[in-house]
């Protein structure tokens, strides 16, 4: 069995499961945020039960519209907070913690071998830990909160193997953008992605979270990494409960095997309006920008901020560009302060904000006007994603975004660092 099948079999009380099979799966953690929880709570209340299956395994996070951007957002956050307190759930306030997919792993709430369902499509981020984590809508989450289980169709698994060594400035973001560019936004529709190869073993945990985060952008149900010593080291001091590591079998049946030589990949930029619309940085041409956003559940971790700081240190953001830097969590923010990164950003003329999903989804704090262009380290560049339907979003890694902020047009770090 593949890693996905191994975890699903163990959570459904079966010896083996096969792609296409419908199963009922026991979940280790259920999550909702300030966008999805209000509808989930409404549906939960229709179930006629007054308790969740296990309050310590239901997590509520405010992070999308925090700090509350208007009265409706404040009402939604209050509804979530009141529900969480009434039921004794794990409540993570955006102001105290940060963006859900950065915070849940940091807090040791998600562990290897878990099945996690979250009312947010980027729940697949936890695949970096070897957790079968997938996004669902509010009604599914309401039912999982009540019962501790959910139905699933066992996905086929596609194996992705990344050979070789990445060039300078080529990051996990570039590997996943390149992959989506190759297979398309529905290239892994309904499937599990399983990541292999020496370039994957080389990635830090921060990099693995970035890659797993964008599995949904290829239509996948999960993007799974095998648990290795880096994973164990990451969870060692964080885990609050025991966990089980699963390994794919040697005779696993993959629906497809895709192989890449990463030494041939250059930093990638996804042009509007699909994450699959990728080009190598050398093929970008002249694209002027109005805004650069560095952060989000994709690239808001310490390694990302260090990379941006490396490029911005001692340099100035272009006078016609607004550069927003958003640490993914307060833990990341604090470390960025300790390392002097925040000072580098402010001196470069960038704005450092509290952790929030704000600009990424066009919610608040960095919304685009018609005709404006933004380079962002986020995960989606759909029409109107960050504001006006007449604005444009280009996706890239933090070094490219930082260099572009300095140049006033999309370009690589070599151009500013010599």
């Amino acid at each position: 069995m593949t890693l996905a099948e191994k975890i699903l079999a163990a959570h459904s009380g079966k010896k083996r499961v096969s792609p296409g099979e419908f199963i009922t799966v026991r979940v280790d953690l259920v999550m909702a945020n300030d966008i999805t929880a209000p509808i989930a709570i409404r549906e939960f209340e229709r179930l006629g039960t007054d308790a969740v299956f296990d309050p310590q395994r239901v997590v509520m996070v405010t992070d999308h519209n925090v700090p509350a951007k208007d009265i409706l957002a404040a009402e939604n956050a209050k509804l979530l907070r009141d529900f969480a307190h009434q039921h004794g759930l794990v409540y993570l306030d955006g102001g105290e913690f940060g963006i859900e997919h950065v915070v849940l792993p940091e807090q040791g709430l998600v562990l290897p071998g878990d099945v996690v369902v979250g009312a947010d499509s980027h729940t697949c981020t936890y695949g970096a830990l070897g957790s079968f984590a997938t996004g669902m809508g509010s009604t599914d989450i309401a039912c999982a909160m009540a019962t501790g289980e959910i139905w699933m169709k066992v996905p086929p698994t596609i194996k992705f193997v990344y050979h070789g060594r990445a060039k300078k400035w080529v990051t996990a973001k570039d590997l996943i953008l390149y992959t989506i560019g190759d297979i398309g936004v529905d290239g892994a529709l309904y499937a599990a992605m399983e990541f292999w190869g020496e370039a994957i073993a080389e990635l830090s945990m921060d990099g693995r979270f970035t890659m797993a985060n964008m599995a949904i952008e290829a239509g996948a149900k999960v993007g799974l990494f095998r648990t290795d010593e880096k994973t164990v080291e990451y969870v060692k001091s964080r885990a609050r409960r025991p966990y089980q590591v699963y390994e794919p079998d040697e005779d696993s049946q993959y629906s497809k095997v895709v192989e890449y030589d990463v030494s041939l990949i250059e930093p990638q930029v996804a042009f509007p309006h699909l994450p699959s619309n990728t080009r190598g940085i050398s093929e970008v041409g002249e694209v002027r920008i109005d805004q650069a956003v560095i952060g989000s559940c994709t690239n808001g971790r310490l390694e990302d901020l260090r990379l941006a700081a490396q490029v911005l240190r001692g340099r100035k953001v272009h006078p016609e560009v607004r550069c927003l830097i958003i640490p993914g969590s307060q833990e990341v923010y604090l470390q960025a302060l300790r390392e002097g990164l925040a000072e580098v950003f402010v001196q470069a003329g960038a704005t450092v904000t509290m952790p929030t999903c704000g600009p990424c989804g066009g919610f608040h704090m960095g919304v685009l006007a018609p005709g404006e262009r933004c380079i962002a380290t986020t995960n989606r560049n759909f029409v109107g994603r960050m504001g006006s339907p007449k604005s444009e979003v280009y996706l890239a890694n933090p070094a490219i975004a930082a260099a572009s902020a300095i140049l006033g047009r999309i370009g690589g770090p070599e151009e500013v660092m010599g």
């Binding site: 039960t49 009604t139 949904i216 066009g362 994603r385």
Partner: protein, 168 residues
Amino acid sequence: MKLKGKVHKYGANVDTDVIIPGVYLTLTDPGELAKHCMEGIDSEFAQKVGKGDIIVAGTNFGCGSSREHAPIAIKASGISCVIAMSFARIFFRNAINIGLPLLECPQAAEESEAGDTLEVELSSGEIRNITQGKKFQAEPYPDFMLELISAGGLIEHTKRILKARRSG
């Protein structure tokens, strides 16, 4: 159940951000969400959609975010069903859960044009294009999904699980 309405046609990869832009996600009322349905790609949609109308689209309809606001907005706008070449998986679950019928039928999606009148028999998956005089057959739902739908949807299905646990 028979559905009948005019076609509103879109291409591939219609994402949930264009179905209901992020700025409206503080809304939870279906009627309010419907006012902004499809605003990202078709700003006139809310004005021109008629009760029973049908959205026809290409591959990977509903890709992107998990926002249940998307199928809720479509349903509340008056759309009776969505026919596409394929659907993104989270959107598929959400639509079934809130009672918005989806039909996967590449041929009907390709050949139907905006403004055509379609008639859909949900139980058999038969799609008739009245304007063009053509007939298509959608992919049948798996048995498991049919049971879920006939149980009255996921909420009713879950109520039964909870009841069985209480009495068990």
